[in-house]
């Protein structure tokens, strides 16, 4: 085990897979020589050569489209879209092509491609460097969607994603790249060096797709979340003293509804958190499934704390970001219902 940042963990996953499997290729904008604007692929081109790790023209539909073509040939491309905010030109390739290829050809053609992309806010990046578009992928049948929150999970899940025979959208919360950010932007940033989940095996291992993790066990309320909001939840729990169970989904689709419903059945209360906008957000799906399974166990209406239903602003980032204060308020009001 070595201590890694999430950047190093993601890089290590690609390194392991490039080493193990000749069919793995890695490409994207600024990914080759430079090693990516977040350094996630630094050193990989030097190690594996320009036929395995390379720069691509600035064309996201081309990156994903070419990746699909390679996957159809039999490769396992792991491509980078520089920011999730720039993934939309590739949406048609993902929705109409990658997602449905197995279905429409009855398994004759498949597209085992992984699309990595940094997502989420907290870096003062304005509307085009802050978005959380996961719900537009979970809405598409045929795609798997993953959002890791720790270096350990990031590596194990990325390896699983590359090995998976279906297309996977792998969203990396960029505010977690260098440390567990809990929403307290005015406090000194923490890093991964002292965090237990920053400890990562050097070699190959899997974190299975479709399994949530319980980050904290608790009796009074279940917090269902993923990505950066896992740490915001931890902070809010610490500050309110409420005995909450925190579930990190890790994979959004396929959803680990078993773990969720066991927890909610136990606590009887539930708070769903994400950075993304509220309306038609992934939280809506979680809430719907919980009420289907846990209706009679619920002691209070399920609450959601999310980004507001607006584009992501620049100056007002901390009014927009669902930080620990907002989460704490929601927790308290959930506990008040009798």
């Amino acid at each position: 085990m070595v201590q890694m940042t999430m950047i190093e963990a993601v890089r290590s996953a690609m390194d392991v897979m490039l080493e193990r499997d000749d069919n793995v290729v890695v490409f994207g904008e600024d990914v080759g020589y430079f090693g990516g604007v977040f350094r996630c692929t630094a050193g990989l081109q030097k190690k594996y050569g320009t036929s395995r790790v390379f720069d691509s023209p600035i064309n996201e539909s081309g990156i994903v489209g070419a990746g699909i073509g390679m996957a159809v040939y039999g490769l396992r491309p792991c491509v980078e879209v520089q920011f999730a905010d720039y993934i939309y030109p590739a949406y048609d390739q993902l929705v109409s092509e990658a997602a449905r290829m197995r279905y429409r050809s009855a398994g004759d053609f498949t597209a085992p491609i992984t699309i990595r992309s940094p997502c989420g806010g907290g870096i003062f990046g304005g509307q085009t460097h802050s978005q959380s578009p996961e719900a537009i992928f979970t809405h598409v049948s045929g795609l798997k969607t993953i959002v890791p929150s720790t270096p350990y999970d990031a590596k194990g899940l990325l390896i699983s994603a590359i090995e998976d025979d279906d297309p996977v959208v792998f969203l990396e919360p960029k505010r977690l790249y260098n440390g567990p950010f809990d929403g307290h932007h005015d406090k000194p940033a923490r890093n991964w060096t002292s965090h237990p989940l920053g400890e990562v095996p050097e070699g190959h291992y899997n974190v299975p797709i479709g399994e949530a993790a319980i980050r904290r066990t608790g009796a009074d309320v279940s917090i269902i979340t993923y990505g950066t909001m896992c740490f915001v939840a931890e902070a809010a729990v610490a500050e309110t003293g409420i005995d909450a169970e925190i579930i990190d989904l890790r994979t959004l689709l396929p959803l680990d509804i078993e773990t969720i419903s066991q927890s909610v059945s136990k606590t009887g209360r539930c708070l769903v958190l994400h950075e993304a906008t509220l309306t038609s957000g992934f939280g809506a799906e979680i809430v719907a499934q919980i009420q289907e399974r846990c209706f009679y166990a619920l002691e209070a209406p399920i609450e959601r704390v999310t980004g507001w239903d607006t584009p992501y602003p620049h100056a007002q980032e901390w009014d927009y970001f669902p930080g620990p204060a907002r989460v704490g308020r929601a927790l308290r009001s959930l506990m008040e219902v009798i």
Partner: protein, 408 residues
Amino acid sequence: MPDFGPLSFKVPEPPVRPGDEPDFSDFEVPKAGTVRRPEVDADADDMKDLATTMIRVLNRDGEAVGPWAIDMDREVLLHGLRSMLRTRAFDERMMTLQRQGKTSFYMKCTGEEAIAIGQQLALSQGDMNFPTYRQQGLLLCQDYPVVDMICQILSNARDPLRGRQLPIMYSSKKHGFFTISGNLGTQYIHAVGWAMASAIKGDTKIAAAWIGDGSTAESDFHAALVNASVYKPPVVLNIVNNQWAISSFQGLAGGDSATFAERAHGYGIPSLRVDGNDFMAVHAVSKWAIERARRNLGPTLIEWVTYRVAPHSTSDDPSKYRPREESEAWPLGDPVLRLKNHLIGLGLWSEERHLQAEAEFDEEIRVATKEAESYGVMGGGSSARDIFEDVYKDMPPHLRAQRQKMGV
């Protein structure tokens, strides 16, 4: 298939990398004044040669020579040089603001100033630019209030965009400056559509589209070209080839297979390749293309050859992917220096006036910055209420409810 060996995969590489000597030996620079100037109504077919050469006006002695050396108003010349100096002063001061932690982000256009300014001074009131983030010169050569620009960069109480946009993503319809998108290339097709609308309505306005070399790879660039080819709207299609797109050299956008200007040929669009560090060439060629548009002769594509002297942005360190000395070795020189020498040669300018102008703009921007800072820095002074405005024309009930929940 015994006759064929195994295939191999090619990825373009720039001629040099950090640690190497800068090398522009393959970069051909025709002598100033040697490229012909067709009539504005010439056929696209009859000017294909202009997409592979380079139109240049200013020679090494600072003289304007050849068929593109048009008569120019002395006011335009002086305003051009002064605006370039103003842009440089602005860029320097804004970089400092970023280093001081007063803004989150900035992007300079050092070395590329002649292009936006040279073209803007050939456009008319009512025309519309669809710029990228590296055309601040379009605003800085007009009467756009510089304090407002800085307030946008500081995201403060007087930010005309109410804190919503990343610094430098200005917007001003009044100044013919379309709201900048962070998503590359999207504006190129908007410019074409805007120009189509002007033609549909029998208007006299034209559009200017802007894009970087790297971003020509985006699908929207190609969508713009096919629409421009089909409908022949009044639009100038600018490509600013500054050799780099963050860490990617222009060959990664296909620039080594054909010039960016040649992209137009498949669409039958007239196309010119021009020395973008030569203000005289920029202005003359812009006027030519603008006249074509106004005379209803359709679109013109122009590749401006230049060099991104500055880092991509304040988040970038170019010494990681290109030799540090590369910008000094750049064969087309400094656009400010070249115009300055020309104007001195004409007797319109002097070393002394140059120094004075530099000091004047330094002072102007310093004072403007001071005022702007008094309205807040780094998002200070912005209003949380503004988050919810302008999502729609009329705020729907769910946003009203969310705003109430936030308590603002």
